[in-house]
């Protein structure tokens, strides 16, 4: 297989404000009818004088085709999953989002969330059944809710349920949670936002997992619970996970399972049997809803019977073949988001599950796991690449380019900058801290064919060969991407950073 002579679109597109042409306009809103205007008079008179806008906002002035062209050019300079082989973007499960599901999700585009229940029975049915039929079986949990609008919001939601649970049970002093360093950062940050003190367990250098003894030492009378990803970001599955949840339970805590990325274990192993009280699935990862350049996503939160009363409101319930939004739940945490969450993601995920059924979902899990074994077999043979910690990985693995860096001076950042010259998306490195030096975390989910994986490995291997042969070539990359290296962006310098065009004009306008 040969790598392609790819070149990204490079439009050198100005910022939209620079394209302004006074007097042009891209859209004409509807006007109030003559009768209305005659009756109510000038619009500005309807606003209290103190609150009238005096100066026009500095929005750009462009005609419609020019606005469209600008954003199409920006889209062309974005290597979305549908155009690339996103094997390198691990922990994200860059799977195919079936296009037909976009049409189906669009059916609710003009539905208002406060419509009477009887007018949205179809939507409520899909929400109810996706939780009650599909996710209950996949997780073993008892009830689901889709209000958290992203994975981290799911972890936050679970922290709030934990907080409420301990308050209700008269143990408000429980203010510590335990997590592991290879659990997603949200498993530390979200409980911290909810006020928890976070204890983080670090891995044993052999197994890649924290020692069970370390957990025993970490828990105590102040333990509210644990937040754990399994398999962890390393792809390593903690075989003692049921013992771990037992230890936390014995200490009086609850266990929250971060299943944002559960792609290799659907139909294989479940939150219930591992002893968790709560879990969440990212519908924009495991269940195929598109990532949308980073949202809108959705976390489906699942709980045991005992935690069900704490779910955010509204909860969709079924009574006498009708679906209802239940707000009368005195133990509920209230809301983590307005309305019912990003329900369009649920419609897509429901359709994805219906297209696959039990066998297909299990097949997706198996193939994603086998794909990772195959990818691992190939990566192992590339010089400069190593896999810290022992053992087989499930859906992804955290590899290291430390040897390459030592031998060539080229690290993962430079490799990423060169990889994009071959039409391959930058790899996900690792969350911080980088316990694995010069890390990368590929995840070849079921979407990718053997040929896709072969191409991806070929591209990576080509870059690594280049690093050994001509490190400067790689360090100066990208060469064929949409722009060039940002060596010193001033992103931590208040005098130079600019989060808006007006700030840029003020600080650095003379550079143009």
């Amino acid at each position: 297989m040969r790598v392609r002579e790819y070149h990204a679109a490079r439009w050198s597109e100005p910022i939209i404000h620079e394209l302004t042409s006074p007097g042009e306009r891209g859209f004409i809103p509807p006007e109030a009818e003559e009768k209305i205007r005659a009756r109510v008079g000038e619009a500005s008179e309807l606003v209290p004088a103190s609150m009238r806008r005096r100066e026009k906002p500095g929005l750009p002035e462009l005609s419609q085709a020019q606005v469209l062209r600008h954003y199409l050019r920006l889209s062309q300079m974005t290597l979305g999953m549908e155009l690339g082989i996103d094997v390198g973007v691990g922990t994200c499960t860059m799977k195919y989002s079936p296009k037909v599901n976009e049409d189906l999700a669009q059916m609710i585009a003009e539905v208002h969330p406060e419509q009477p229940e009887e007018t949205i029975q179809g939507l409520l049915q899909i929400l109810y059944e996706f939780g009650d039929v599909f996710l209950r079986e996949i997780s073993g949990m008892n009830a689901f809710n889709f209000q958290p609008p992203g994975g981290s919001a799911g972890a936050y939601n679970n922290a709030l349920m934990m907080r409420r649970y301990h308050q209700v049970h008269g143990e408000p002093w429980r203010d510590e949670i335990v997590t592991t360093i290879f659990s997603h950062p949200c498993d530390a940050a979200c409980p911290a936002t909810a006020g928890y003190k976070v204890l983080t367990l670090y891995p044993d250098s052999e197994t890649g997992l924290p020692d069970t003894e370390a957990l025993k030492e970490a828990v105590g009378p102040r333990t509210a619970g644990c937040f754990i990803t399994n398999p962890e970001d390393t792809g390593i599955f903690n075989k003692q996970i049921d013992e771990w949840t037992g230890i936390v339970h014995d200490a009086g805590g609850l266990c929250s399972y971060d299943q944002a990325n559960a792609n290799a274990i659907m139909g294989v192993t479940r939150a219930r049997e591992a002893g968790f009280d709560m879990c969440f699935f990212n519908l924009h990862k495991t269940f195929s809803s598109p990532h949308g350049s980073s949202g809108p996503g959705s976390a489906a939160i699942g709980v045991t019977e005992e935690l069900e009363p704490y779910l955010p409101v509204p909860v969709i319930v079924k009574r006498r073949r009708r679906y209802h939004l239940d707000y009368e739940r005195p133990l509920s945490i209230g809301r983590v988001r307005d309305f019912m969450g990003n329900v369009q993601a649920v419609v897509r995920s429901y359709a994805w599950c219906m297209a696959l059924g039990a066998e297909g979902i299990r097949e997706a899990a198996e193939v994603s796991m086998i794909n990772n074994q195959y990818l691992s077999e190939k990566l192992r043979r590339i010089r400069g690449v190593s896999l810290p910690f022992g053992g087989r990985r499930l859906d992804q693995a955290r590899w290291s380019l430390a040897k390459l860096k030592d031998e060539t001076g080229v690290g993962v950042q430079e490799v990423n900058n060169r990889l994009v010259d071959y039409g391959v998306q930058s790899m996900f490195t690792s969350h911080h801290p980088w316990l694995v030096p010069e890390p990368f975390t590929p995840e070849p989910c079921e979407t990718y064919s053997k040929a896709d994986i072969d191409y991806w490995v070929e591209a990576l291997e080509t870059v690594i060969e280049e690093a050994y042969a001509d490190p400067e070539l790689v360090k100066a990359a990208p060469h064929r991407s949409s722009n060039h290296n940002v060596a010193d962006g001033g992103f931590d310098d208040p005098a130079r950073w600019a989060m808006s065009w007006r700030a840029y004009q003020r600080k650095r306008g003379d550079e143009r």
Partner: protein
């Protein structure tokens, strides 16, 4: 796929020969063997999942879902007067085209070269929303207005080192519930205290005297909304900010950005941290899935350092005149700092931010004013029409887009049932949320409503109350 004897179109390596070859290459007999190596037997499911029969053919799947969702009413079918945090506005087709582009729809966490366009579109959202708000810093938008307000008051608390957050009673109860969650803490003594400030029952605005009496040296901020949940324009915004500042507190304000062609930007009335909901800017309602919260402030280090959001900054590259992008003070974020981060950040609503950028670019300074004027005129026409009906009162003047309507001699529930039979969705029932307003409903009228539709509403209400 064993059952149908053919591979699934979403799973290329489900071709049996390919799967076997890959297993052979990794030295395994079966997937089960590999799983048993990684997961202890006692945790394996050990039985097939019990799920509904699959619908692998696309037409069958389409028909199945359409048969369920097709029963529902949408606001295309019935004329809707619902708002209350999610509003029907017209979405220009170009917004849909850009939001539906494969590249933006399916990108996620790529680098700033291969995803240059995504970074630039994020930056342009920040730039454009800042123009409407009169601010200089914003970030990739968060989940919704409630989350934006929750983050904003926490920023204010960190900035001031104080723990009391003043919130008037004319904000959305759902948003307030979200904010209360953000403010509470598992540390019994560490949470922020949300204290309610009165609403002037005559105007629907903040009760300034009550606010003044509650402000003190321990107040972190005043959070208020403009227009507020009841649609009322907070004419005393400058006074509220001045009072907050005189107590050393921050002024935090939530706004509806589609009002900002006609309403003053929050920077004009002393607001330090502005937040709000970008869904009106070209994003469909999606049954509530269109929400998109934003936060903005002046460009001062003390504010920038407290943002939880990813802040995209523009820069140059090694090529003169070329733009590059990166993230400012990235070490603040939970991706870097874990439990020591400023709250948390994650997958939020970037696609809706990009869509809103398209909307703001299309409308420009004139369009955003015109859409605001149309909304003002149509909503005031509707309110005037309804106020003339015996048994109907419109308690507040000086509103934008939404206004409570109070019924005497009947209930909102009965009125809405009556309207539903006439293919209309009446305003949101406020009788639970604001019992002091009696049998009131929150009506929303935007640029999408026609004169005929508003007149028909008036006619139907007249009959309902006759």
């Amino acid at each position: 796929m064993a059952k149908h004897g053919r591979p699934h179109p979403y799973i290329p390596n489900s071709v049996p020969e390919v799967k076997r070859e890959m297993l052979r290459l990794v030295g395994a007999e079966s997937a089960d063997d590999l799983y048993r190596e990684m997961i202890p037997e006692r945790l394996l499911m050990g039985r097939p999942m019990r799920l509904p029969e699959a619908l692998p053919d696309e037409l069958g799947l389409r028909r199945h879902v359409e048969s369920i969702l097709g029963r529902d009413v949408t606001t295309d079918d019935y004329v809707s007067f619902l708002g209350a945090g999610c509003w029907r506005h017209y979405v220009p087709k170009v917004c849909d085209v850009v939001a539906g582009r494969s590249e933006f729809l399916t990108a996620y966490a790529g680098g700033s070269h291969s995803d240059l366009g995504r970074y630039q579109a994020n930056f342009e959202f920040q730039s454009l929303i800042c123009e409407l708000l009169g601010m200089e810093v914003s970030g990739i938008p968060t989940y919704d207005w409630g989350a934006a307000a929750g983050n904003s008051v926490r920023m204010a608390a960190r900035l001031t080192g104080r723990r009391r957050v003043l919130v008037p009673r004319n904000v959305s109860p759902a948003r307030l519930s979200i904010m209360r969650n953000f403010c509470a803490s598992a540390q019994q003594s560490a949470g922020l205290e949300v204290e309610e400030v009165g609403m002037d029952p005559e105007t629907g605005m903040v009760d300034i005297a009550d606010l003044e009496s509650r402000l003190g040296e321990d107040a972190a901020c005043v959070y208020f909304e403009n227009p507020n949940y009841l649609g009322v324009i907070e004419a005393g915004g400058a006074e509220i900010s001045a009072l907050a500042h005189s107590a050393g507190a921050e002024s935090v304000c939530g706004v509806d950005p589609i009002s900002l062609g006609v309403l003053a930007p929050p920077s004009d009335y002393g607001v330090d941290i502005a937040c709000g909901e970008a869904q009106p800017l070209g994003v469909h309602m999606h049954a509530g899935g269109g929400s998109c919260g934003f936060i903005a402030s002046r460009d001062e280090v003390r504010y920038v350092a407290e943002y939880p959001l990813r802040l995209v900054s523009v820069a140059g590259t090694s090529e003169p005149g070329e733009y590059g992008f990166g993230q400012a003070l990235y070490e603040r974020t939970s991706y870097m700092a874990r439990e020591n981060a400023k709250d948390w950040v994650g997958t939020t609503t970037a696609l809706w931010g990009i869509t809103a950028a398209v909307y703001m670019s299309l409308l420009g300074p004139e369009g955003i004013r015109e859409v605001g004027e149309t909304i003002l005129q149509k909503s005031h026409y509707a309110a005037g029409l309804m106020a003339e009906i015996p048994g109907v009162k419109v308690p507040f003047k000086g509103f934008f887009k939404e206004f409570p309507v109070t019924f005497t001699g009947t209930t909102v529930k009965d009125v809405n049932k009556w309207l539903l039979r006439r293919r209309m969705l009446g305003g949101k029932d406020l009788s639970g949320e604001f019992p002091a307003l009696g049998q009131s409903a929150l009506y929303c009228v935007t640029e999408v409503h026609t004169l005929e539709q508003i007149d028909a509403l008036g006619e139907a209400l007249r009959e309902a109350l006759a």
